[in-house]
Symmetry: C2
Subunit: 415 residues, 2 copies
Amino acid sequence: MVAEMTGKSKLCQQIEEEIQWLSQFGADERNGVTRLLYTDEWYSAQEALQNKMKQLQLETYYDDVGNLFGRLNGTCSAKEVILVGSHVDTVKYGGKYDGAFGIIAGIIAAGYLKKKYGLPKKTIEVVSLCEEEGSRFPITYWGSGNINGIYDITRSTKIIDQHAISLQQAMHRLGFGNGTYIKPVRDDITHFIELHIEQGKQLEKSGLDIGIVSSIVGQKRFTVSVTGESNHAGTTPMKHRKDALFVSCQLITQLIELSKRYNEHLYVTIGKLNVTPNIANVIPGSVQFSIDVRHHEQEILEEVETTINQLVKKIMQKSDMKIEIDRWMSEKPVRMDNYLSEISKNISSEKNMMYMELVSGAGHDSQVFGQFTPTCLLFVPSQGGISHSPKEYTSGEQLEKGVKLLIDLLYKLAY
Amino acid sequence: MVAEMTGKSKLCQQIEEEIQWLSQFGADERNGVTRLLYTDEWYSAQEALQNKMKQLQLETYYDDVGNLFGRLNGTCSAKEVILVGSHVDTVKYGGKYDGAFGIIAGIIAAGYLKKKYGLPKKTIEVVSLCEEEGSRFPITYWGSGNINGIYDITRSTKIIDQHAISLQQAMHRLGFGNGTYIKPVRDDITHFIELHIEQGKQLEKSGLDIGIVSSIVGQKRFTVSVTGESNHAGTTPMKHRKDALFVSCQLITQLIELSKRYNEHLYVTIGKLNVTPNIANVIPGSVQFSIDVRHHEQEILEEVETTINQLVKKIMQKSDMKIEIDRWMSEKPVRMDNYLSEISKNISSEKNMMYMELVSGAGHDSQVFGQFTPTCLLFVPSQGGISHSPKEYTSGEQLEKGVKLLIDLLYKLAY
């Protein structure tokens, strides 16, 4: 089909084609993409992206954990790098857009700028970050984390996947992790820009084109363990029971009800709950469940933790049961850069794109970069808010608007 | 150890020894008993019991499903049979007393009466019922059910265990189920008497010797399926969620709270609950849970079912989620025989045994017999109320009181 017949611009077609092209590396039996860190599928995607970058005359290189870079050297201040990109890994049975779009967009934008304006004043680098999802190894942000120096690569012997292969073994298999390539940690990055699908419904619901992220939420995660007493359902009077599930249900109901009233930006989720022994005619002896709390203000996260502890204490006293609560994650909210947001807003307005500022409830590589470097996270809509699924979809026209914004943003920063 | 040294009576010692003796057939690695229907362990127990009965000069025979009988022929009305016994099968990793005690007690009582008074006027038969627990095949009361004609033996080809062996194949392996033995169904039983451990704490808590069961509860069991919408915990605002777990917790909390206030004899249990997809950062898309309702009055069971349906309807309307409820079991309460209860009370009083009338919240073979025949279910205390566990325990002295009551009861009925 040619552009004239579809009404699609050349850029739009190019984006659609390249998204499709990249999705073949790791294409899975569910019509989705499964590209787990350091697998053959993952490596074939990185190699293909390197070729793509080379075709556009970007200087390419890997770092020692397998982050792939394509560089346009700046003519004035080559040592100041504006980094643009996202992650190449996917979840199991993921979609074609999550992560991939940010890389494709970066390559197209760099190629476009190079062709139209020649080399920039400041260096632009496109990055295909090796890992963000935590789908193979129990670690997330392995790509951006190494660039920002928050990981110690020697720990990689202790992190193992479900087949007992260590992160180090997996790296070594592909020639990474043994000093062949440059060290990942960087001090030359002045800005990080990430274009991503929203993975939510806010843009779609509002009928908007662009989301300019003001903050990425902080998260606290807890495991709650309720210990009651397992007993026969037919011989233990209700007033003598220590029913761990009943107490858990009270706790969850009260917590969610409180959270709903608390603050519309507060997200509290109990996603996982396991009952022991989980037999219809036995009173549950113990229950374990997760609490996932997200908000973009640290103060509110702390308040919610206090509330949870008070609630647990109250219910524990009332029920005479043991309730233990373990906070195993506490990540602070990260603000995106105001200056980059303002430029993004101005460009959107100039181009008649409808935008909104929003908070990202999902984690992104920008969350790691944002702690060290002025960072800009931009969203395009996700159909139905669906992500981490073969059903993930954003139209070419919507992707195109994101890429146009990215091109102008890079132009303003680098030329 | 001799009786004089322990202070235990000969009868007490005999009971303890025979309980211990029977527990060797199917003794498992957890120091419990695993004697599943038609296994070698099960068969060795029945064969050993048959020998034991023969030693006491009982006439022994099997029926075609493997119920084992030991008979003292009545001198006046031989065709009127007073049946006494319980089930020989156990749960996996069960105890030494559940079922076994009722058989041992019956054999000892019959042997004692025969020795002391000769043959009875009415026939006494001791039965070792082949199956009650439903631990191997998804069917319960296979022994008493066949005696009372509620099962069709031809169905046995369709009932399979976890290794895909049919009930029929399992029977045939041991020579049962093919007409070699007499048909199980009986019309000559005038009374059924079962002595059993309580499997609850009521006697222990009250410091009593004997429980005389007035009724066995009826049961209704339901499976509730709540269908919401699985979504990302970080990108779906709480007011837009269809959280199947939150709704389930509300339902369970309200149901248990209502049930606690309703009637002290009402037992409502949610023992099993499964969340899908059960991932900490994903809003639960669906939840399935069980409801087990028990009471000794059918009217109350019906009222509770109505309450559950109303509650589900109310919460479904409020939450805009789909909630399906499937009642897959509805067993009516069964009253034990008043006349047999009165005799048992009188004997207990005469013997200075402390007794109470109680409702059995657990099912027993008496529940099947009680629908067709005057039936008497008698309990001795269970330490800590523990059953279906290697920790099941009742002292020899407590067992002895039950056996003494049984001897006198049989004497009054048969001599």
